[in-house]
Symmetry: C2
Subunit: 404 residues, 2 copies
């Protein structure tokens, strides 16, 4: 299929071709494409052949590439594929392939606004039971709209960035006074992020049937959460400092086009949502993404994205139904991906049931929540064309101690 000598089970095969931004030593950051264990210096190839979008590919983020729109991005993806498939390109391209271990990946997008949803029924139900044991597990609005909130765009970081344990207020017990210090309940949220590639004017609402055109691609996302800070602060205006210290995304953005073979029908919704959230069977796609959460190299859970209640198309339609505009680089995330079985839960909060049932790691140690030094890695894949696989870029982060 490709003139590169890739093993059949090689990650980032010819079906994936994700975009990222990389640099070598002191070079300027620029756009590359991952193939196997190598990175194609797409900026260099484009400059060499005088590609009409060479300048766009020499940028330090994918924003200008995405802004070219889905038709042009589709042509560029076809061209990239041809570079790696046509033997006539081999000589020219080979000299512009770099070892992935020799480059430093950058944050791939300039994040405009970041919105986090809450689209897994199992996750919302688990959190409801843990945080609000005296109320119904799902809030009354949950099945009528995809609940979401704005997060901090400026603290979205690329995979590999260390995460310092946040400090903040927590309430030790209901009648106590709050205390201040490093979070004692630092957690993971395994999520899928969607990168918006098209802007809209203020007042425009995106229809569910058009949503695909606005979504450039997919990242894995770890919405690090300090549960003790969050529990004390979040009533009535929602999560703030319990989330805003860091959100990690994968360095490689997988174009939505690569996930055609992973596009599956959305599970039935009951009650039927309001018309602006309906759009016929084909519009309301789900994605068959298979995720893994590893702590210190040990897989502790394997969430399946296809079971999510709300579709990304519905999230985007909801986000804009009030006329809110989109910008290129907007990022919206699914919320924690949790299935109904314990070993598919997407957070330690759920896996350890708020610390009461610590998770076993392979070496005999256990975790209720994260400890300093822990390394968390989210990975994933999806069915690709021709029985191939599409690799979702990993998102990794190491917990370091709070600053003094």
């Amino acid at each position: 299929m490709t003139w590169l000598d890739l093993p059949d089970d090689c990650p980032f095969g010819i079906e994936t071709l994700p975009y990222g931004v990389f640099r070598q030593a002191t070079d300027d950051p620029r756009v590359g494409v991952r193939i196997g264990e190598q990175v194609l210096d797409l900026a260099a190839v484009a400059a060499h052949i005088g590609h009409e979008h060479a300048e766009v590919l020499a940028q330090p983020s994918l924003n200008r590439l995405m802004a070219l729109g889905p038709a042009t991005c589709g042509e560029i993806r076809s061209w990239v594929r041809s570079l790696l498939v046509e033997k006539s390109q081999r000589a020219m391209v080979s000299t512009r392939l770099l070892d992935a271990s020799d480059v430093v990946m950058q944050l791939p997008i300039e994040v405009a606004d970041y919105v986090d949803f809450y689209a897994s029924e199992s996750h919302a139900s688990n959190v409801g039971q843990i945080f609000r044991p005296d109320s119904p597990a799902l809030p009354p609005n949950w099945k009528h709209l995809p609940i979401g909130y704005h997060g901090r765009a400026g603290t979205v970081v690329v995979s590999g960035t260390d995460v310092a344990r946040p400090r903040g207020q927590r309430l030790p017990a209901p009648d106590d006074m709050p205390v201040f210090g490093p979070s004692t309940k630092l957690d993971i949220e395994c999520e899928v992020g969607f990168v918006v590639g098209q802007a809209t004017p203020l007042g425009h609402s995106v229809e569910v049937s058009d949503a695909r055109d606005y979504i450039f691609g997919v990242v894995l996302l770890n919405d690090w959460s300090a549960r003790d800070i969050q529990a004390w602060e979040y009533v009535p205006l929602g999560p703030f400092l319990g989330k805003s210290f860091a959100t990690s995304i994968s360095a490689w953005v997988v174009p939505l086009e690569a996930l055609d073979a992973a596009t599956v029908p959305l599970p039935e919704q009951d009650p039927a949502p309001l018309p602006y959230l309906s759009g016929g069977h084909t519009s309301l796609f789900a994605l068959d993404l298979r995720l893994d959460i590893a702590v210190n190299g040990q897989v502790i859970s394997s969430p399946a994205y296809r079971d999510m209640y709300w579709s990304p198309a519905q999230m985007l339609a909801h986000l804009t139904v009030n006329g809110a505009s989109l910008r290129v680089g907007d990022l919206f995330a699914s919320g924690t991906v949790s299935g109904s079985e314990r070993l598919t839960f997407g957070s330690l909060l759920e896996l350890s049931w708020n610390g009461t049932q610590p998770v076993q790691l392979g070496n005999g140690s256990t975790r209720a929540f994260l400890e300093d030094g822990d390394v968390v890695t989210l990975t994933g894949w999806a069915p690709g064309a021709n029985a191939g696989r599409v690799t979702l870029g990993e998102v990794m982060g190491r917990i370091v101690a709070s600053p003094d």
Copy 2:
């Protein structure tokens, strides 16, 4: 004081000197300073004399100016003042003064992240009584931390921008199914916004005693709110579409330096906040800002900012205590400014007590919430040096009907 012939009670006198970004016809947008009814084309003056920061003043936002830091910004403010005070400058400057009515004001800052606080005790207590009549008026965390949440940075608009009535879901009554349509409870929130002029790295927390150095200036801000959408969506993750359709800010940013004479002690806080929110008497400043809310030209309320419970320095310290980084252009707002008396409430929700006591307008009409065509204007001033006044830029918006 200035060689311009300004009446004593002229708005935007020599004590104010706010910065904004303007354009004429098809010119490029650039930095100007408001003086009386005129705009000083600061970019043109700087280019003419070869000022070392001429390029910064030719930008389409204030971000690069702010990023020069408080010391350099202080020097630039002194230079601007000298241009308008020293008679020797008159000939050169006069030809670069434009009528304010001849320019079009732009959004003055490129907004990075937008955070909205909830710092007025009266407002929080009023909203608690209206939205949560069966709970204590203030949530248990309210006096321990300045509650805040992230809003949508991409829909911050400049004064004068029309605001389309947002569409969305609302629940007509507790046992009903939600319905969809234009908001029936569109509201004002009269707030003060603080523009961040200095970036910090991830992991750094701003101390309350250093907060002034990070705040470039002040805007008036209308946090338009659709109360029916907000009430249905906001549990458990906070306001989202009820706020994200538009947030209007004044075109003129008043440097914090202009408010030295308006800096007053913060009212006593009981219980004493945790040490990271304390900082000695002088750090925890309040601001004596006198605000007015007008609907269709009729003043309906006059909130006093000096009564706010939480200081802007505490808001900034809290926002960063978890290590969240700041970017130049971050915007944080106070939340609705409401005093304890009805005619100092900062929203129609409170003024009309959720629609039950409509507000009288001058012409015999009443308002529970805003109607299409209504024009809302927030204005304000503060005591200046030498018994003068500092004018806060106005923020105006007209409500237009929802799109079909």
